[in-house]
Structures are given as C-alpha cells and as structure tokens.
C-alpha cells in the first residue's frame, strides 16, 4: 500500500468520522445514537490502524485494538444495558431545533478548518489534512452536549469528543505515547461505570434523565 493511497483512504475515513459526528448531532433515537457511536469508533479504529501501517509506528496497532474493544464493543454495550435498565427509548426534547443544529455544525466545521489551516501548512505528516476533521469532531461533540437535554445523550456527546481528541492526536503527531493512551482507555472505562451510577441516582431522584430537572436543586429565593 503506497502512501498516496493510504492518505486517500485515511481522508475517506476522516470524512466518515465527520459524517457520524453529524449523525450523532441529528439522531433522535437512543438506539440509533448508540449504533452511530459504535460506527464512529469503528472508523476511528480502522483509521488508526491505517496510519500505524503507513507511518511504521506500530504502537498505533495497540491503540487501534484498544479503540475497537473499548469504543465499538464495551462502551456501547454498557450504555445499552444502562438504557434497558432505565427504560430509555427515545429522546424528543432538544434545546435547539435539529435543522438549526445542522447549520451550527457546518459553521463549526468551517471554523475548525480555519483554525487548523496554519498547522496543516507546517506539518509534513501524511495525516495532516485530517486535523481539521478531528477538531470539528471535538466541536460537534461539544455542540451535542450543549443542545441535548438528556443525560445519556450528553454522555455520548462527551465520548464522541474523546473520539475526536484521539483522532486529533493520531493525525497531528501519529498518536500519543502508549502509556497515555492506556491511561485514557482505563479512565473512560471507569467513567462509564461512574456515569452509570449517576444515571441511577438522577433517575431515582427526579424520575427522569432530563438534566433540566436539576434546576430544581437550587435554593428558593
């Protein structure tokens, strides 16, 4: 596989990651969100593998396998079990209407493109052009956390942000040191358990996972 072709495949995978990020932003159903999240993780894992192959940095293979087990299998499974226990099927409420969210997302993509333009000029890596997509994925995850009211969707937005960060690391510097990546993976796993405990607490206290309910926690004045 020559560098040219690898760069092209990587670009396509980057485009797919961006597409799934937008999919997460507009998807209303919980199950659809989980599938999209798993799909994003899958594209990320393949992209990391391709970059690892073409750059000769073989640590990236481990990172790719880690992503595959964590983001494609383990985390979606944990979230799925949580949703079944809490009987969540779909989320209707969004703060901003979905077509407006799409336009905001497009604006964010343009913004991240402009932000990363100077870095792309300086970099010599094969993956330099995907940096804009990585930043855009982070921003879109952020936007998702802002525009959704439901606790579980906010968590998925957070995890999508983490996907974006990992992708940014891969495309900017051929990945973080392996120790850091192992640490992040462990953190995520623990975070997923803590989220689970929190979900149970929120839903038993408020009988709903709508985070707007938390406004009731403040003192009366």
């Amino acid at each position: 596989m020559d560098t040219e072709l690898a760069a092209q495949i990587n670009s396509l995978l980057a485009a797919m990651i961006l597409l799934t990020a937008f999919g997460l932003l507009v998807q209303r159903r919980m199950n659809g969100l989980l599938h999209l999240f798993a799909l994003q993780g899958f594209f990320l894992a393949v992209s990391t593998g391709v970059v690892g192959f073409v750059s000769g940095v073989h640590d990236l293979y481990i990172s790719s396998i880690l992503t595959l087990t964590m983001k494609v299998v383990l985390l979606p499974y944990i979230l799925h079990v949580l949703m079944r226990k809490l009987k969540i099927h779909r989320e209707v409420e969004t703060v901003v209407k979905i077509p407006t969210t799409m336009l905001m997302g497009i604006a964010l993509v343009i913004f991240s493109y402009h932000l990363t333009a100077p870095i792309r000029e300086l970099s010599t890596l094969v993956t330099r052009s995907t940096l804009a997509v990585a930043l855009a994925t982070v921003m879109l995850g952020f936007l998702m956390m802002i525009t959704r009211k439901h606790a579980v969707t906010q968590i998925i937005g957070f995890l999508a942000m983490e996907n974006g960060l990992l992708f940014a690391a891969t495309s900017a510097t051929y990945g973080m040191p392996l120790v850091v990546e192992l640490g992040v993976a462990l953190d995520l796993l623990i975070a997923a358990f803590i989220f689970g405990i929190f979900f149970f607490h929120i839903s038993t206290t408020f009988d709903s996972l709508d985070v707007d309910q938390m406004a009731r926690l403040k003192e009366e004045d």
């Binding site: 670009s11 980057a14 485009a15 961006l18 507009v26 799409m102 997302g105 497009i106 343009i110 493109y113």
Partner: protein, 314 residues
C-alpha cells in the same frame, strides 16, 4: 468509423424519449416483485401513453393559456435537458451551450409552470399540490446546487461533459467530496422525482399527494405529455447521477463503436439503479410533510460537507 456529434445528439434524445417509459416500466416491475405482486408488462407505460394520446382533451371553462401551454413546455424542457446531460456520449454539441446550473434552472422553469397550472383552474387540490411542490423545491434546489458544485469543484468545471470525463479518470470513489455529493444527490433526486419518502408516485390518495394533485385536471394528450415528461425526469435524474458519479463506459469520442458500446453499459447501470431505487422505496415509509425539511436539510448538509471536504481533505 466517425459519427457526426449532431447525430449522436439526436440519437441521445431518441434514447431519452423511448427509454424513459421503459425505465419507468422496469421500476414498477421491480417494485411489484419486491412486494410479492404479479407485475404488469415492462411495456405498459408505452401503452398508457398511446391510450392517453388518442383520447380527447377535456379542459375546464376557466382554464387560461397557462394551463394549455404547460404540458408542452414541461415536455420541451425535459427534451432540452436530455440534450445537455451526457447519457451515451460526452461529445455533444449542446453541452457547450448550457452547464449544470442552467440545467437546474431548466427544471425550475418546468416546476414553476406546473405549479402555476395547478393553481390555474382554481380547484383546492391543485393549489394544495402547488404549495407543497414549491415548499419542497425551495429546500431541494439549494441542496441540488451545492451537490453539483461539490462535483464541479473536483472537475474544475460546471460543464456536465467535462465533469463526466474528469470523474471517469482517476479513482474517484475514494474522494470524500464525491461520496458526500452522491449521498446528497440521492436524497435530492428522491425528492425531485417524487419518489417514496417524499411523495408516492403510485397513489391518488388526496391528503398525501403532491405531484398528482397539481396535474389532477389534465386529460388526454396533455396528460400523456405530462406523464411522459415525468418519466423522462426520472430517467434524466438517474442518468445525471450516473454521468456525474459513475461515468465509466460512456463514449468519450465521436467513434461509432464507442457510442454503440455505451448502450449495454447504460442499460446495465439503469437496471441496477432501478433495483436500488426500489430497495430505498420499499425500505422506507412515506414521511410526514413536515419531516421533509429535515430530510432535505440533511441533503443540504451532505452537499455542504462535500464542498468543505474538498477543501479540507483533498
């Protein structure tokens, strides 16, 4: 052996005129198979057109010239569009006169007059259909232009022939911008040709129809022309998609054998697209009309992402 480009042009328009009903028949046939019904003959659309052509025209008393003029205009516009889109060959004299933006405008003219004719008689259904059609058009056209621009950025030209030639060289399926543009184009083509998630072409159910509501008052040869133009529009959108995203096999010279060799390839592609179209149609249910904004909004999103990824990733 050389073939005059003007002959190719005439040949192509003949292909459009006579293969469009065949394609419509094929789509209906595959749909019947997928739904487990016995299908009508592949040539039924020809018989329908012949029957309608031989019937008398009944026109409402208060119909104006717009009502009488529209079928001819819509039919003519479709033939003109068929002269621009490279169906069997890219070596067409008419492609130099109009690019893809003009093509979008041509379809817009046809739609504008159909909507006017829908309102002309003054029946409630006509007005309802026209208003719905224009709502969809106002969302579909920007998305269509964006999708087309994404392809013309890759081809560095808005000429359809040029786009087909550039895309057919080089492994373009790996280009993110074309993948996004293709996704957007599929959504837009479904909306523009009135296929299932947006409009149901097989029904005259009053509350859901869009295109049928506008042409409800037409009869005889007027109806024949409008129906025929509808089939041509479907055919044109399919060939537009083929020539901008999968142009392999299209004739690129004025060589007779190349032009003739383009036919089986075209038939093969049309057959596959027909099956794909029906897979989409049977897999989806018709949408509520207020969900169409989201449907076409995502088409716009895909098209814009296509343009952006051209700058970002290529």
């Amino acid at each position: 052996m050389k073939i005059n480009p003007f002959v190719t042009e005439i040949l192509q328009i003949a292909v459009l005129l006579f293969m469009a009903p065949l394609f419509a028949g094929w789509v209906k046939m595959v749909k019947c198979w997928f739904q487990g019904r016995t299908s009508q003959s592949l040539f039924q659309p020809y018989r329908d057109i012949r029957k309608l052509l031989s019937k008398d025209v009944a026109i409402a008393e208060n119909a104006s010239w717009i009502f009488r003029f529209t079928p001819y205009l819509v039919f003519g516009v479709c033939i003109m569009a068929g002269g621009i889109i490279p169906v069997i060959s890219t070596d067409l004299p008419l492609t130099a006169t109009a690019d893809v933006i003009a093509l979008v405008a041509l379809f817009a003219i046809a739609r504008f007059f159909t909507a006017l004719a829908g309102m002309d008689i003054g029946t409630a259904f006509g007005g309802m259909g026209s208003s719905r059609e224009m709502t969809i058009a106002s969302l579909a056209e920007p998305a269509m232009l964006m999708a087309v621009f994404a392809v013309s950025l890759v081809a560095k030209s808005t000429s359809l022939s040029q786009m087909a030639i550039i895309v057919s060289h080089g492994h373009s399926l790996l280009r993110p911008s074309l993948v996004f543009a293709l996704l957007a184009f599929i959504l837009i083509a479904l909306a523009e040709t009135g296929r299932v998630p947006v409009d149901n072409p097989a029904t005259h159910l009053e509350l859901t129809m869009i295109h049928e509501a506008m042409i409800l008052e037409y009869s005889g040869r007027h109806l024949a022309l409008i129906e025929w133009a509808g089939m041509m529009k479907l055919f044109l959108f399919v060939t537009l998609g083929i020539s901008s995203f999968f142009p392999w096999g299209i004739a690129q010279t004025d060589d007779l054998t190349a032009v003739l060799a383009a036919f089986p390839v075209l038939l093969f592609k049309l057959g596959i697209v027909g099956v794909g179209l029906i897979l989409i149609e049977t897999g989806l249910a018709k949408m509520r009309i207020f969900r169409i904004t989201e449907f076409l909004g995502s088409a716009f999103l895909f098209a814009t992402l296509g343009m952006l990824s051209f700058f970002m990733l290529e």
